[in-house]
């Protein structure tokens, strides 16, 4: 009998788990999230188990596989308890040494410690790594601490207690009121007040209602939802169960993109275990409330992250959005009232129920409460997941947490909000990041992508990149979006190829505003943002492309030429061997590039150790 029927039963289970777990016992926690796994962490974890067996140790040592810490840059990462020593870039061959030195004798292995790139100092503990130090991890707090495939680990850290509290001590009205008062806003994009959405869905008459968790994470360059689903799936389930109880839904769906196989797997395991313990199924916590969750694997279309398209997709149809005047909360899945939230929004709910609305409302800014999670990527030193209170300045995120720009280059812009967002220039680096400020700056919060661009990034190319993405992903249902984005892409492609005309910029502006006003769904309405924001802040760069037929960043292929600096070239022949076009000559002491043969693939520049190959 595993089923937990009362809050007391849950507490007793937690206490017995905590008692059984000796907090002084050594434990190796190996991250097996997507990032670390890509670098071989599964093999490392296995090696630890084998090595510990082989060395026939007297003291017992636990090994645990955890989900993503969000610091994938340094993977595979491991943490050794009870001292919480943090090792990074651990290889298979390091394992025996870690067991015999660190685990048995408490010796630190210097070369595996993280080195702070700004001070050059070694860091012993994970929480002292500057990347983590300045963060406030709430939603991600247990990422990397618990084994996502073991529900007992989640229960040991207080899991499902919010659910127990909500069901046994709170009315639906109180739960919704608490969420309203907390100020929680949707973390999937638009930042709609979560409590208000729940309230409407609760009030709409109907016996059959649905809740949906949006784990589609279509923003290319964001991975916070992935990390959460992989590392702490139960927190999402718990939030959904509480929400379903408050709203009056008996069936939930989790829509997860197929590109995230590990998230799909961990969520399924979590659902099965939650059923075993009675957190899903019938009469949850001995109440009259029945609820279950089913996973739907996405088909790989960006637009399916949009609520009405997502609903169509669950119904087995082509994922086309519909007009907004029909609200999903009133007529959603199979025309029944449906409440959709992002997975991070759901995972925030247990925190609010446990700690109270006031606790949550204290964090953040006046209108944006709580924390925001960003996937900090691009040309920045520390890439990874950043959770900070709303209102944190951009420069704190990029410089203090992200460690500044890669290779000491110059900052140019930061892009937030994915394909729907915009580019923010250097002048606005002290912007306090919340829903309102980002929108004012011509960008948006989106689902948390934060992409840092340096001087080697061409803003015209960035605009072209996002337009290309969007014209491919446009579902084709409405004309402004389907045709308009294509035309914008055409114009920007022409500019990038040196065929731009002076009047193109104004035409772009006009097109962008029309598409924004007349598209059917959020995809089209936000599609022009990158163009508008780059025109607003980087017009110069467009003009240089049009007027001088030059790409200052050296990216747009039609406007650049590779050449070799004679005084730096040593004639070593490295580039010559690799050039796929045989475009490099070696008649003299140094090499030269034949521009007629060169396809500008850049392989020669990668190969040169003397920085002799340049772009003009």
């Amino acid at each position: 009998m595993k089923k937990i029927r009362t809050p007391q039963g849950l507490e007793a289970l937690q206490n017995s788990l905590l008692q059984r777990r000796d907090s002084n016992k050594s434990c190796v926690r190996v991250c097996i999230g997507t990032g670390c796994r890509a670098r071989g962490s599964v093999v490392v974890a296995e090696a630890f188990r084998n090595e510990i067996k082989k060395q026939n140790l007297e003291i017992p040592i636990d090994t645990k596989q955890t989900g993503c810490h969000g610091f994938c840059e340094s993977g595979p990462v491991i943490v050794i308890g009870p001292r919480e020593i943090f090792y990074q870039r651990v290889k298979l061959r390091d394992v025996p040494e870690i067991v015999s030195k660190t685990l048995l004798n408490g010796e630190i292995i210097d070369r595996l410690l993280y080195v702070d790139p700004t001070t050059g100092q070694k860091v012993l503990y994970e929480h002292e790594v500057p990347f983590y130090e300045k963060q406030r991890r709430q939603i991600l707090a247990n990422n990397g601490r618990i084994d996502p495939t073991d529900i007992l680990d989640y229960i040991a850290v207080g899991g499902y207690q919010a659910l127990a509290k909500a069901i046994t001590t709170m009315s639906c009205d109180e739960i919704i009121g608490t969420v309203e008062k907390s100020g929680l806003r949707g973390l999937g994009g638009a930042g709609f007040p979560t409590g208000r959405k729940w309230r409407v869905c609760h009030k709409v008459p109907g016996d059959v209602k649905f809740v949906i968790g949006n784990g589609d994470e279509g923003d290319p360059g964001a991975f916070s939802d992935r990390s959460l689903m992989e590392a702490n799936p139960h927190s999402i389930l718990e939030g959904m169960i509480i929400g379903a109880y408050a709203i009056g839904a008996n069936q939930g769906y989790l829509y997860v993109r197929a590109e995230y196989p590990l998230a799909l797997k961990h969520l399924q395991i979590a659902i099965d275990q939650a059923r075993e313990y009675g957190f899903l199924g019938s009469k949850i916590f001995s109440s009259g409330f029945d609820f279950d969750i089913k996973i739907i694997q996405g088909g790989g279309a960006f637009v399916c992250g949009e609520s009405s398209a997502l609903v169509a997709s669950i119904e087995g149809k082509v994922g086309e959005p519909r007009a907004k005047y029909i609200h999903t909360v009133e007529r959603g899945l199979w025309n029944e009232p449906t409440n959709l939230n992002n997975v991070k929004t759901w995972a925030s709910v247990p925190l609010i129920i446990n700690n109270g609305a006031d606790w949550y409302a204290k964090i953040g800014t006046e209108k944006s409460k709580g924390t925001a999670i960003f996937s900090l990527v691009g040309k920045v030193n520390n890439t990874g997941l950043v959770e900070v209170p709303m209102g944190t300045q951009l420069k704190e995120i990029i410089y203090d947490i992200g460690g500044g720009i890669l290779e000491g280059k110059k900052f140019k812009a930061v892009q937030t909000g994915g394909p729907s967002g915009g580019c923010i220039p250097e002048e606005l680096l002290d912007l306090s990041v919340d829903f309102e400020r980002l929108t004012e700056a011509g960008s948006m919060m989106g689902s948390g992508g934060m992409i840092v661009m340096d001087e080697d990034t061409c803003m015209v190319d960035v605009a072209r990149y996002f337009l290309d993405f969007l014209q491919y992903e446009s579902c084709g249902k409405c004309v402004p979006c389907r045709e308009g984005i294509k035309r914008m892409l055409e114009i920007v492609t022409n500019i990038a190829a040196g065929r731009g005309k002076k009047e193109d910029m104004d035409l772009l502006q006009e097109l962008a505003e029309t598409i924004k006003d007349f598209s059917l769904c959020g995809l089209g309405k936000t599609a022009p943002n990158t163009v508008l924001s780059t025109l607003r802040y980087f017009r110069e760069e467009y003009e240089t492309h049009v007027r001088d037929k030059k790409c200052p960043a050296g990216i747009c292929k039609d406007l650049i030429e590779y050449f070799i600096l004679e005084d730096k070239c040593t004639g070593c022949g490295a580039c010559l061997k690799l050039c796929p076009q045989q475009a490099i000559d070696a008649y003299g002491l140094t090499h030269t590039i034949d521009p007629a043969k060169c396809i500008k693939c850049g392989i020669c520049r990668d190969a040169c150790s003397f920085e002799a190959i340049m772009v003009k």
Binding site: T34, G35, R37, A38, R39, G40, V43, F71, C72, E73, G75, L92, E217, G218, D219, P220, G221, A222, F223, S227, A258, E259, Y260, I296, Q297, G298, G299, G300, A301, F302, S313, I314, E315, G316, K317, V318, G319, S375, V377, G378, K379, T383, G384, Q415, G418, G449, I451, M453, T457, Y465, F466, F469, C475, L578, P580, C601, G602, I603, D606, A607
Partner: protein, 163 residues
């Protein structure tokens, strides 16, 4: 090409495991795609008949979602990430390198059915950008120069080689 009864009953099993539900169309197609590596035309017609969903809707769904393919694919599927993080760090050049090396374009399959090449938008491993994945094997921080070596390793050791 006439398919054997055996193939038909395989597809039948998939459809029946979803109780012939119309709304399970996407899930059914996903399973067929998983077992054949693509969606054969005969299977689409069969699904249309069994689920009583018009062929135009089946085809609509099959061609709308990136997860589905209408032509056979190679033994090794190479996915190159063109997500923003990877793109900024040069993944378009990696894709071009692969196209040159394999003699095929994005979305195509080599004639010997060894490799299929497909660009994708973000694999959620942005910290390792640019990322290329062959089957389940990840290649991080890719450059065009590393392409040839990576392909060779897949040819020789397959997709599951451990470091």
């Amino acid at each position: 090409m006439a398919e054997s009864d055996h193939e038909y009953s395989k597809v039948d099993k998939i459809i029946e495991s979803y109780s012939c539900e119309k709304s399970a169309l996407i899930a059914v197609l996903q399973e067929i795609e998983n077992s054949y590596g693509y969606l054969p035309a005969w299977a689409l017609r069969h699904v249309s008949e069994k689920l009583k969903v018009p062929m135009i809707q089946v085809y609509g769904v099959a061609s709308f979602y990136d997860a589905f393919h209408l032509t056979p694919r190679g033994k090794h599927l190479i996915r190159v990430c063109l997500g923003t993080a990877c793109y900024l760090r040069g993944s378009a050049r990696v894709l071009e390198g692969l196209e040159r090396e394999l003699g095929i374009k994005d979305g195509e399959t080599t004639r010997d059915l060894t490799f299929s090449l497909q660009s994708v938008r973000c694999l959620g491993a942005c910290a390792l950008a640019p990322v290329m994945v062959v089957g389940e094997r990840y290649f991080d921080k890719m450059t065009p120069t590393k392409v040839r070596g990576a392909l060779k390793r897949v040819r020789v050791y397959g997709e599951n080689e451990k470091d």
